[in-house]
Amino acid sequence: MVGWALMHRYVARRLLGLVPLLFGISVVVFGLVHTAPGGPTAVYALGPDFTAQQQAEIERSLGLDRPLPVQYLAWVGGVLSGSWGTSYKDGRDVRVVILERIPATLTLMGTAYALSLLIAVPVGVFTATRPRSVARYVVNVLTLLGISVPTFWTGLLALMVFSAWLGLLPSGGMYTIGAPFSLLDRLRYLVMPALVLAFVNLAMWARYIHSSLIEVLQEDYIRTARAKGLASRVVVFRHALSNTLLVIVTLLGLSLPGLFSGALVTEAIFSWPGNGRLIIESLLGRNYPVLIADFMVLAVLAVLGNLAADVAYALVDPRIRVEARG
């Protein structure tokens, strides 16, 4: 195929473009994080024995008394030599601090995305093919709810009903503490946060799939297919739905950073030890090394996600071809 050589060059060019982009992002992130008021020792400052002098000594020891550009260059130097620094909170290697949160976050977000997709596709198809049915309005209302109701509300409601009142599911956490590993146990802890998150995504995704399918269903070739006397099921699933793949691919590509960043609110409500909570805690505690490293990782993933979606377009849709320039 002619496309492959072009594709390689295209990907290489995009990857090369990553370097200045990430450099720019790092400057912005570093600057923003450091200009936020307060500092990493502020959480201790209300302790009566913690003096201004002690605080100044600690800040000097962390190198925070140097001018910002100097600190930035020191940070870049560290990263280029493979060191992301140590967490101000507990002195551990930043890579360990972030990596230990990734499995929890991937499990939760992966499940939530998979559930969303599994439900959003049939729902989108259903509503697009039955534009005037009652069921469609019901689904519409539900998806609107999913988009507009915040997760801290649905999450707490789920927690109160299924955990506190009915006692069916655990009140947060990832597994029964102290018990040996059991898949069933993990699922019991996973189901509520995953569904609460899926509800939001699924609502959004179902709407995208719905409108994309509506558009496709009005195309000439669909009318032709129908005119040939093909069954409606075949028309929708074989001819129309494959064209909405583009939408799904886009959604998945854009979701890549979300898989790792986790869900800030949902993780807090279900005391899920994921990366979202690490980001919030690092933000509140002004834990600069963790915060900056985490943001950089997410930036890379966002860029890669977009790239992957672009590449997948070309693979999925024969009408789209990448060009080496332009």
Binding site: P37, G38, G39, T41, A42, V43, Y44, A45, L46, G47, P48, D49, F50, T51, A52, Q54, E57, I58, S61, L62, T86, K89, D90, G91, R92, V97, E100, R101, A104, F152, G155, L156, L159, M160, S163, A164, W165, G167, P170, S171, G172, G173, M174, I177, G178, A268, I269, F270, S271, P273, G274, R277, L278, E281, G285, R286
Partner: protein, 529 residues
């Protein structure tokens, strides 16, 4: 319509549930049951379990389970020996403290605990390379430390200091054989103190989730009753409440006033009320152009309805306060001058001070300057904001133009230290000895956020600090409190009260006097079957 049979079935179910409720054996039998676990629910997660590198209460709660201290404070406020065999012997001049250590104590790895560990902990505390946060002020008064034998430690002080006995109180001892020669700032032990001296041993700390400890059968005060303790992190206050309702949590410390009434009605929970040594108050910059006039400070006190705030915002759970030495302390003076709520008196005092009301604006003026200032408040806490808003309204009513400036903790502390404020709202914490509160916050050599110039007060605090006789000290502290109240150096609002909750099946819980680190006697806890 519901069928009769269904209704009957529901009725039977209700009766059955009620009956089984009555059939439950009542907990609280005398012999402690051994086994089971206690789950402590916490909103905040500890940062490290190294006592030198933290001053967070949550960290202290957790490290108290796995580490141990020379002495601790009990629920009555007494200092009691733990790793020390008895309370330290104090020399006649008050400058030498000698601790004799227990000989039957071993680290969790089996190595004996000796005086070398205490000396090592002292040296680590004073080492400028270490990013020490939790250093009690008493360490700065130590001239020398020596260990004449493996079970004796002698501290020589620069100056006599009666409250010095609290310096090592509740301070976890570090294992010299694990930490010597390592960088204390990044040591693995800080987050994985598997070698400790405490009644429990660390099993795991899963960041963001929980800390799990299991009992140390060789604990020198006897093997603890409960088999394991889980310190569970639930960062959302409402989610934590749901977990408590479900029955997944056995203990929760420092419950907010908002959640106390609901839990108090819950028969499964017991709420413990512990008055503390800390005080909520308005910090006044006594050198501020407006606030330097004592009559203005007294007028603002008269204008504030402390009782009303206690009854509404704080749901009647606290009492108004008039002095910084709170009621649980032996030095508390209930007879200080009180400028009770009286807006008319407040207006009169402001008139006397030369602040005349401008009827056009409703704001008082003096020499062309308006009686205008702002209250600095740490943002993010609803209760605090409500209190500050009430003060704003009540001070406006007597002719002051008041606004609120919300800041983060770091900015708050910077403003207070720099004296760049008129009034700030917050609480000051202190230890059980009245000296900690008065020296740190009122002495000109302390933190001095108040910007005071009261040599008479300095002299009283200095004198009371060096004598050991508690009756004489009390007289001096009473005089100091009367002076503080008369000068209206601050506007005291209420004594901080801790509300801790335990499930009724938990026994042996005794909240520490003054509130705070409640895990001090975790080896005595036990759970009903």
């Amino acid at each position: 319509m519901m069928r009769l049979s269904t209704l009957l079935a529901i009725g039977i179910a209700i009766v059955a549930t009620a009956a089984s409720g009555f059939a439950q054996p009542t907990p609280g039998s005398e012999t402690p049951h051994r086994g089971g676990q206690v789950v402590i629910g916490s909103i905040q997660e500890p940062n490290v379990l190294n006592p030198l590198l933290t001053n967070l209460t949550v960290s202290q709660e957790a490290f108290n389970l796995v580490l141990d201290a020379l002495t601790k404070i009990d629920d009555k406020g007494n200092v009691i020996p733990f790793l020390a065999r008895e309370l330290p012997a104090v020399s006649a001049d008050g400058k030498t403290y000698t601790y004799r250590l227990r000989r039957d104590v071993r680290w969790h790895d089996g190595r004996p605990f000796t005086s070398a560990d205490v000396v090592f902990t002292h040296e680590a505390m004073m080492d400028p390379k270490n990013r020490v946060i939790g250093r009690p002020a008493g360490f700065l008064n130590v001239a020398s430390v020596r260990a004449p034998d493996a079970h004796t430690v002698v501290f020589n002080l620069k100056e006599p200091e009666a409250p010095w006995i609290y310096t090592w109180n509740g301070l976890g001892i570090l294992p010299k054989h694990v930490l010597e020669g390592r960088d204390l700032n990044t040591a693995r032990w800080n987050t994985a103190p598997t070698v400790g001296l405490g009644p429990f041993k660390l099993v795991e700390w899963v960041s963001g989730s929980h800390i799990l400890v299991s009992r140390n059968p060789d604990y020198y005060l006897g093997s603890p009753n409960v088999a394991a303790i889980v310190y569970r992190i639930i960062p959302d206050a409402n989610a934590l409440l749901a977990a408590m309702e479900k029955g997944d949590i056995d203990m929760r410390y420092a419950i907010t006033a908002e959640q106390v009434p609901g839990l108090d009605r819950n028969p499964g929970w017991k709420i413990w009320r512990t008055p503390s040594y800390s005080i909520f108050h308005f910090t006044i910059n006594n050198s501020h152009p407006i606030m330097s006039d004592r009559r203005v400070r007294q007028a603002l006190t008269h204008a504030l309805d402390k009782k009303g705030i206690a009854q509404t915002v704080l749901r009647g759970l606290v009492e108004p306060a008039w002095t910084p030495i709170t009621s649980p302390s032996w030095a508390h003076d209930p007879a200080v001058p009180k400028f009770e709520y009286d807006p008319a008196k407040a207006r009169q005092l402001l008139d006397e001070a030369g602040w005349r009301l401008n009827p056009a604006t409703g704001v008082r003026e003096k020499d062309g300057q308006r009686l205008a200032f702002s209250i600095v408040n740490i943002a993010g806490d609803v209760e605090r904001l409500q209190i500050v808003q009430i003060a704003q309204r009540q001070w406006r009513e007597v002719g002051a133009a008041v606004d609120i400036s919300p800041v983060d903790v770091g900015t708050f502390v910077t403003l207070m230290r720099g004296g760049d404020f008129a009034i700030g709202y917050g609480f000051w914490g202190a230890g059980p000895d009245p000296d900690t509160m008065l020296f740190i916050w009122w002495h000109s050599k302390g933190n001095n956020w108040l910007r005071l110039r009261l040599p008479q007060l300095d002299a009283l605090i200095d004198e009371a600090r060096v004598i050991q006789d508690q009756r004489k000290r009390r007289d001096l502290y009473h005089r100091a409190q009367k002076l503080i109240a008369q000068e209206a150096t601050n506007i005291f609002l209420y004594e901080r009260v801790f509300f801790d909750g335990t499930k009724t099946r938990v026994n042996g819980f005794r909240p520490v006097a003054g509130g705070g680190v409640n895990t001090w006697n975790a080896h005595e806890w036990w759970v009903g079957r």
